[in-house]
Symmetry: C2
Subunit: 330 residues, 2 copies
DNA sequence: TCTGGTCATGTTAGCGCTAATATGATTATA
DNA sequence: TATAATCATATTAGCGCTAACATGACCAGA
């Protein structure tokens, strides 16, 4: 920077201003500075800028997994909003673990992020304590909170699970199973919604639930279908906690010659890209992941600018997509 | 840091050493320093560390898209190697554009990354020039290079396309179409491989190629299938440039009542997670994306440590996975 | 003509850390 | 016991930038 300043014959401060607050430098001078910077191949040093200004122009995003498209879609939404504003995203991967999140948060705080985007609300006690002591704006994604001191953008996972289950009940299904893997916070809540809907209809039966802590995948969905059919051979519909599992189940039914939805209806959660295209097309709960990322980023941006957002909690809802893997039970 | 030093009664330098080079501080003292740091909630400031040491412990990774799982898998591999070594990854999204990459590279250089991981070799002239002038170790991912001054980890996209096409020819297919979207560097090369194989068998016909610049998706694969059938109704096999398109084609065939592979064989590229599970299961070229990320990161790590890797170019190959969407033409 | 305001630019100091070097204490060797 | 080598810790200076304030030029209005 000093070189550029010398070349143009101004002080370093003026060069700094020419980059950060161009309107506070005379037009002609600014152009000369920019030309000199280009000639010399000068690029500002972010670390120095950060150190001097106490702003990092960086936000830390903590997600459970890099390979689950649900979170990548969210990150893409965040990126879309933050990148044009000059903010850099640091992605931390917690591996669905509270301890992992705790350690990562510590690591990422060393980068002095200006803001924090966290997944879910099920943080460890230590994480919550640390967050409370932090002066960094934080927005929680994917779920809803009624606490006025917490910023959240998401949807009610419980109501999502409940809505899908109710819809299946309306369609005449009675022995509706719930099949879940991974068992993170959101999965548990979808199960809770399922349970409420079944109980309010007087249909609840613990034997219709199959929960596994193993990671979700299409292949594992196929396996869980087998297990569920063994556990509750009389089930007439299966609600999978996510679309990966449900897609695996569809393929497995096809192999086994199980008619979907006539013999067995299948429903998923998330509405992944492939779900509208499988044969039969998957009935699922569409979640606005990309919008969650966008809106969470926008909310964080407001906070970074010192504005209070209108709402502390933004509910982006969900949509039950009835496709071909469910029908009407007569 | 000064607070911690004062509390323990040592100099700031000793606190710094206790964190960065723990073995150069006496055991008991180190423990007291760590205890004091914990008490005071001290976390090192990376920006200051970076400024003072001229090392950012950061590497910039430029990928074309965040939503294409191919690149995310690669990033996951990079992350797996780099995270335990204390390196932070900065992800830049070029949007499949050379200009985008050029601008991003400039932006990311402001962070003074210790290393660079770029996708492909088809960078703009300006990017190549800039890279040459840079003292930052750089590894190119996904493709191969025979230039001794370039580090690359990947596979031969041309040979991948050629191998699959040859296999189809061996299986008796004669009117093999090539269907591509997105038309990035890798797609073009796969097409080149297809063309070589068709030409060497004397089967090449320009009318069997369908290239579209639009982004790939399952839905677009379905549409391209329709277009291809209109363009070359006599085709007996279709080689899609990636699995998204191929999966869309499988579903579309199912809807149209086209027997796969009897009336029409289908092949893809990449071997995405779902491809082994579709019905019929997709014949495709499996690419070691995760390993590419891991190995590229390892190679970069060697370079960062001042070691010359044994090879400048690491070929991780590919595997033709013959599944159910192709058979034998009699 | 003077006063006060506005604007463009300059000066000073310091952000939090670490490289390089200095210092002093301890240990090994002759 | 003297000397050198080794180790643990301290001191100094500076990484590249920007906040805060200072300066001086210019202009409007009385």
């Amino acid at each position: 920077m000093a070189d550029v300043a010398e070349r143009v014959g101004v002080s370093a401060m003026t060069v700094s201003r020419a980059f950060k607050t161009p309107d506070r430098v005379a037009d002609s001078l600014r152009e000369r500075i920019q030309a000199a910077a280009r000639d010399l191949g000068y690029l500002p040093n972010r670390a120095a800028s950060q150190l001097a200004s106490a702003r990092s122009m960086t936000i830390a995003v903590l997600i459970p997994s890099l390979t689950n498209t649900v979170f990548i879609d969210t990150v893409a939404g965040i990126h879309q909003v933050m990148h044009p504003e000059g903010y850099q995203i640091l992605i931390g991967v917690t591996g669905y673990s509270g301890d992992g999140e705790e350690r990562l948060l510590e690591t990422y705080l060393e980068y002095n992020p200006d803001g924090l985007l966290l997944t879910g609300l099920g943080h460890s006690a230590a994480t919550w304590t640390r967050l409370r002591g932090l002066a960094i704006p934080t927005v929680h994604m994917m779920e809803l909170s009624d606490r006025p001191d917490i910023y959240a953008v998401g949807l009610s996972q419980i109501e999502g699970g409940q809505a899908m289950t109710r819809r299946l009940i309306e369609r005449g299904y009675r022995r509706i199973g719930f099949v879940a893997a991974q068992l993170d916070e959101r999965t548990i809540r979808r199960g809770e919604g399922y349970r409420r809907a079944m109980q309010e209809a007087g249909l609840y039966d613990a034997n219709l639930e199959l929960l596994s802590p193993e990671p979700s995948s299409i292949g594992f969905g196929a396996e869980l279908l087998d297990r569920m059919l063994a556990q509750a051979p009389d089930c007439d519909a299966l609600f999978f906690c996510n679309d990966d599992l449900a897609q695996g189940a569809i393929y497995r039914c096809r192999r086994l010659g199980i008619a979907v939805p006539d013999r067995l209806a299948i429903a998923g959660f998330n509405d992944l890209a492939a779900s509208a295209w499988t044969v039969p097309a998957l009935t699922t709960v569409a979640t606005p992941r990309f919008a969650i990322g966008r809106e969470a980023a926008s909310m964080l941006l407001s906070l970074l600018r010192g504005k209070r957002p209108e709402r502390t909690c933004l509910d982006l809802g969900f949509t039950v997509m009835e496709r071909e893997t469910t029908g009407t039970r007569t």
